[in-house]
């Protein structure tokens, strides 16, 4: 994949995430505005917490996608390095698992604990960490056609 194609993909993913999770934020604010018991009652404190986390993580991951797109533009060799490709895929997967895990964890929950959907969150978090690490390693690696230092 070329650098332009990779950057364009993360731009799309970034703006898609922002669209989805800013809309989700509006939906959550509407639940507040309409005083929906299934979201605001103290018995659903776990749901409120989980869905807030889903919204926040999703929106922030959108920004991370945009950041990666800009990074690829600045360091095009990331598109051809294994670190860069792995980081990109890990970020894609984390962008699904993290918000989805929080959302499902709040959709059905127990007293004081999120539902089993929250099990998606730890792998999502690990993948996000992995993405950051691989992109950092990709940035540190020397591109194949770079001139030899004098």
């Amino acid at each position: 994949m070329t650098a332009d194609a990779l950057a364009a993909r993360h731009l799309r993913h970034g703006w898609l995430c922002l669209l989805v999770f800013l809309a989700a934020g509006l939906a959550l604010e509407s639940l507040h505005g309409l005083k929906v018991g299934a979201y605001l009652d103290l018995g659903h404190a776990v749901r409120r917490h989980m869905w807030t986390l889903a919204h926040a993580h999703g929106a922030l991951l959108g920004l991370v996608h945009l950041g990666l797109a800009a990074t690829v533009r600045a360091a095009p060799h990331l598109a051809t390095s294994s670190h860069g490709r792995a980081g990109s895929l890990a970020l894609d997967a984390a962008s699904v698992l993290l918000p989805l895990g929080f959302f499902l964890g709040g959709l059905h929950h127990y007293a004081g604990d999120p539902g089993l959907g929250v099990l998606l969150v730890p792998p999502g978090g690990a993948l996000l960490l992995l993405a950051a690490l691989r992109i950092l390693l990709g940035l540190n690696s020397v591109p194949p056609d770079s001139p030899e230092p004098p």
Binding site: L42, G43, H44, A45, Y110, A111, G112, D113, L116
Partner: protein, 616 residues
Amino acid sequence: MRSVRRRALLVLAALALAAAAASVAGRLAHHGPARRSDVALARRTPALGRPGYLGSGACAPCHPAAHATWAASYHRTMTQRAGPGAVLAPFDGRALVGPGGDVSRVERRGDEFWAELRDPEARLARADAGSPLEPVPKVWRRVVMTTGSHHMQVYWVESPRDRRLHALPFAWLIDQARWVPVESTLLRPPQGDVVYTWNRACLPCHAVAGEPRVDAEPIDTRVAELGIACEACHGPGEAHVAAHRSPLARYRTHLSREPDPTIVDPARLDHRRSSELCGQCHSVSRYPDEPAFLAHGDTYRPGAALGDHRQLVRHPVRAAQPWLDAALDEDPEYLAGRMWSDGHVRVTGREYTALLETPCHQRGALSCLTCHQMHGADPDDQLAPAARTDAACTTCHVLQDSREHTRHAALACVDCHMPRTTYGLLKAIRSHVIDSPDLATTLATGRPDACSLCHVDRPLAWTADHLARGYGHPRPDLPPEHETTSAAVLWAIRGDAGQRALAADALAHPQARAAAGADWQAPLLAHLAAFDPYDAVRQIAARSLRALPNPAADLDPLAPPEARARLAAELLARWRAGPRPTPDPARLVTPSGDHDAAALAALAALRDDRPIDLKE
């Protein structure tokens, strides 16, 4: 130039430092006395903490909704350390005058509440010595604890020696916003000198897992938590919290269908066990080993069989209980103060004992939780939604035509089957023995029947005819007065103090006003409010008077006798000036529409003056 700037900076820094130091000093100056006050409060009230118990604060993080609904309940505020958030009465320096003319004073000092009263320690010492309690010197004592926050609030003053708590002899009636003598809140003959202490009588039900230790010197009463908190019903929580620190353990519990063995969920107990939970407090019961209880507290824990830890008192006509003889030897009035002669409970707060006599519990699955819920209900009666309609009954008792059964347009099952024949808290409360109106029982026990508590203008003969026609009840032999005079009037004027209290409450109850009108009761209630020898009966009658539309009159039931008599005469004169009721000898209204004072006097002369002491 530079030195001038440096000097300005130094001055600014010095000013900032001085301001910060002043702020810290101010905080410390305020914090020091407040902290000392809190420490003193903690030293003079029951010590908090029992092995295995953590307190309700440990439940909130995982069960915020359950914690919040409990926090909104009157269970939580049953016992509180006295502070600005707990004390409802005005401690404004006023003088409170007791029945014997003895004066107490109450005042607030910052966040502390203080009372001047006859030294309770000295009074107890004199009582132990067999001397009269008065006169003893007056002392100022800090009010350290409160009981109640719903109907009334009682205050407890510190003992200078230990954790013993003595009642301030005045209580605050919340709905009337009025100080009254504690003795006046009880339905009992005037007792003279009484010093109430909290540590033995109140502790078992007004705190979690209390340990009286009243035989220790100094007294070192301990509780898990003040008030009726989570662990009172769910059991000690330490093991539960420890087991559920691990998320794996929590999810194992969430995903299991089995009850969590580390905590009690009353909703998952069978109807007997779950009701016993309530019965640990809401029953007539005794500790089989009183000294052991005084030393170590109650051995009952939620989920266990209550009968293994308590002697659950039932009337001898209901169950043979040989151990009850010892209680009756000690106090021959033990049963009379708590039950009607057929074993129905007649005082509030003992609903589990009533439930034990109810066929729906004995042969069915009725439990306290059928009608009450502890989380999320209206705190007033903690009724579940099903109990606000007939649904709690009709799940088992299916009626094709409920109107055909009730023969009334708008009656709930409880109106006939749980009439207000229990007394407590200066009012009549629904009986929790679920049964049907039966005039033979009414005549034998003196307990008012449901019909007569609404149809307060009708004689028992009228009720007997209706029960015979509508339900095929045999007509009992009625004394002549029950052929001619309203049953409620008879109970109100010539009944015993317990009957008078119930009838005074019934005479102006909204359902009674709807069924029997509201224009004829005032003279009868004025008579009760002015002349009844029991403070409690007079207060109930005065409250009923206030509920009548005309005349709107306030008769102070605790005023001196001559003032009450004058107020009653004024009230009667105003009533006579108003529209006259329809003549009816059954409700003591003459053919001219006047009050039949002669008939009232004749009935009052027959008043049952046997002492009644209801142990609510």
